[in-house]
Symmetry: C2
Subunit: 203 residues, 2 copies
């Protein structure tokens, strides 16, 4: 059985849990003692040299990036009869999805997710700058979702799972989602997926 | 024929050019008038809402993230008789490669690449912090390359193409590559690939 190392407060951990729930994959969850810096200890750094979480361990395979975990799960554990194609073979579709994974990894992480840990956990950082970048990002997403039900290829994919958590949690970082009607409708579509699970801070 | 919008000084543009050269793909190159903010003008923002470069246009397909461009090129234009498999079908190999794409997109971009534009182009930013994060990154890469000829799966892939440019250009950001022998050997292996091309600042 797979092991997932992470923390309940982490949107990156949650995105792995969410996809595993939807895919119907069983796994063993190890909650890291983050307060005691379990993610900076030598044994854990052997699994994940970045010293972050989550990490997915599947036999000999160790995946230490949350977006890469989604790719792995989609390619390895998508049921043959799935109504969705989470990370399809087609080059153009794969590239369209991948660029949203990069947005999750870069823009979302360095604006919405960072504002949240500054407000919620007292991390150091420039809150105003993170919030301003976050606003621009929300506006872009909201415009994109005006004509698109889903982020990439107008089909549900790991692009949506990847970007969803820190966008949906952004009010914990002092952002306001009220003006972004299309984003809210997108949340509802995601929450309606069979076997959707939630996390603290989300509806 | 494909269009690539970019700039000669950009490592992200270069990584697309490098892979297209190795793959033997023809393309039309459009050098953006970056000094006059061509990448922030309305028409360009329709191609790339991020307002960055490069962008690849292939018929109806528009790819606006450099890592996603590598994925697209690998999946769409890898010759059937290629001795390399740039982004293979296998879930575990794909995930291993993808996590290095995330390192290029996140850690490398926010340390080595940022230090370079601060030193070389006078961009604003915390140079000391970028250089310190850059040092840690170089040390991690150097350790990883002690036992690995290539970043992922011990095989050449787009992981190497993705991470290479800003690591190889890092002395332009005030970093010193001399202590990192394994990284230098990795550079030599990349430069030895058939149809390798260089860019200003690289050997």
């Amino acid at each position: 059985m797979m092991d997932l190392y992470g923390h309940d407060i982490s949107g990156n951990t949650y995105k792995a849990k969410l996809l595993m729930s939807i895919l119907g994959v069983e796994y063993n969850y190890i909650q890291l003692d983050v307060m005691n810096k379990a993610h900076k200890k030598v044994d854990y750094l052997k699994l994940n040299p970045r010293g972050e979480f989550p990490v997915l361990v599947d036999g000999d395979e160790v995946i230490w990036d949350s977006q890469a975990i989604l790719i792995y799960l989609a390619r390895q554990y998508q049921p043959g009869n799935s109504q969705y194609d989470w990370y399809p073979d087609n080059a153009a579709e794969m590239a369209q999805i991948s660029q949203w994974l990069m947005v999750a990894n870069n823009e979302i992480f360095h604006s919405l997710a960072k504002a949240r840990v500054i407000v919620k956990l007292g991390f150091e950082g420039d809150l105003a700058a993170c919030q301003e970048k976050g606003q621009q990002l929300l506006q872009w997403l909201n415009e994109h979702l005006e004509d698109n039900d889903w982020l990439a290829n107008n089909k549900l994919s790991i692009a949506d799972i990847s970007c969803y958590p820190y966008v949906a949690l952004c009010e914990e970082g002092g952002l306001d989602l009220k003006p972004y009607e299309n984003i809210q409708q997108w949340f509802k579509r995601i929450a309606a997926i069979k076997n959707y699970v939630t996390m603290p801070g989300l509806f």
